[in-house]
Amino acid sequence: MHEIHVGTDLREKNRLIAEENRDLIRKNGVVSLNIMSAPGAGKTSLLVNTIPHLRDRYSIGVIEGDLQTSRDAERIAELGIAVYQIQTGGVCHLDASMVHSALHRLDLDIIDLLFIENVGNLVCPAEFDLGEDARVMLLSITEGDDKPKKYPLMFRESRLLVLNKVDLLQYVDFDIDKAKGEALDINPDIEILELSCKTGEGIDGWISWIEKFYGKCRNG
């Protein structure tokens, strides 16, 4: 038999398109966040709670990734925000080419802040660079405090970890210090915030994190 060396990384195509996305985003002065979590951790709730605090000062755009439905996009559109819905048709993550088409359909030159809600999944989204400026991961405390060790890549690849649903801390067995400790073991640079989309506790800290990050991206 005849051996043919290939040596092709199967993510190479995604990487190239992600670079195009990054250029497109930068050129238009947009700052983008890729929001990742398991299904139901509160990504859409967080966006719905965040937008009212920022919309006076920033022009906001949202890309919604979903397996089948457009419910989340409708929740954002109700707020009068530019939203583009990607239905992945069962694909368990967003990839750079899906986001690329979405970018061409948004009015990028007027958008300051772009939120990308990824498909609910703790494994695959971490593998796909979308060209975003930063990855934010949500972990709701109802999911259990053993998640960092089970899904290390997600924690490694995120700049910020948001622990959501802290209003439920008294009802569930979630050791918040243990979860934080393990997240930091896996990624010593990760920043961690605690909040509740239900009570609004901790939202201020999240808003100022976004403002600070926006400033850092814009001023180099």
Binding site: M1, H2, E3, I4, H5, V6, G7, T8, D9, L10, R11, K13, V91, C92, H93, D95, N121, V123, C124, A126, E127, F128, K149, P152, L153, R156, E182, L184, D185, I186, P188
Partner: protein, 130 residues
């Protein structure tokens, strides 16, 4: 998980390489998959069986090489296999470690028949006009 989309990419790569080499049948496809890639071998094999139908890879074998996770400590430069996915250096205890291997998802090589009797294809294995 994303084994299906990964397999689509894989088969596309193999088809292009095979066309470029002028062969119409691939015997073996050797892939290297990192321990931390999130890929499930069974799902990948299943995706291969389903998606390879009608391609040059149809009668080929998928060889699956699992690449262990290795990290390097930025403190002391030691390389180690992290236990329990907590990246702390067993030598100096440092937590600042980078991944050296274990995230691979690549087609390493393919094996084809020695003489396929076909002519070398064009530089591009793509059939469509782009």
């Amino acid at each position: 998980m994303h084994e299906v989309s990964l397999m689509q990419n894989l088969l596309e790569v193999v088809t292009r390489v095979a066309a470029k080499e002028g062969c119409d049948r691939v015997r073996v496809i050797h892939v290297r998959i990192g321990e931390m890639s999130g890929i499930n071998e069974d799902s990948l094999r299943f995706a291969f069986d389903v998606l390879s139908k009608g391609t040059v890879s149809e009668s080929g074998a998928l060889e699956y090489e699992r690449v262990p996770l290795m990290t390097r400590c930025r403190g002391c430069n030691g390389e180690f296999h992290p236990n329990d996915l907590v990246f702390s250096c067993p030598v100096c205890g440092g937590m600042d470690c980078e991944i050296v291997s274990g995230r691979e998802m690549e087609v390493d090589y393919i094996l084809t028949d020695d003489d396929t009797g076909m002519e070398q294809g064009d530089a591009c294995g793509c059939n469509s006009v782009e």
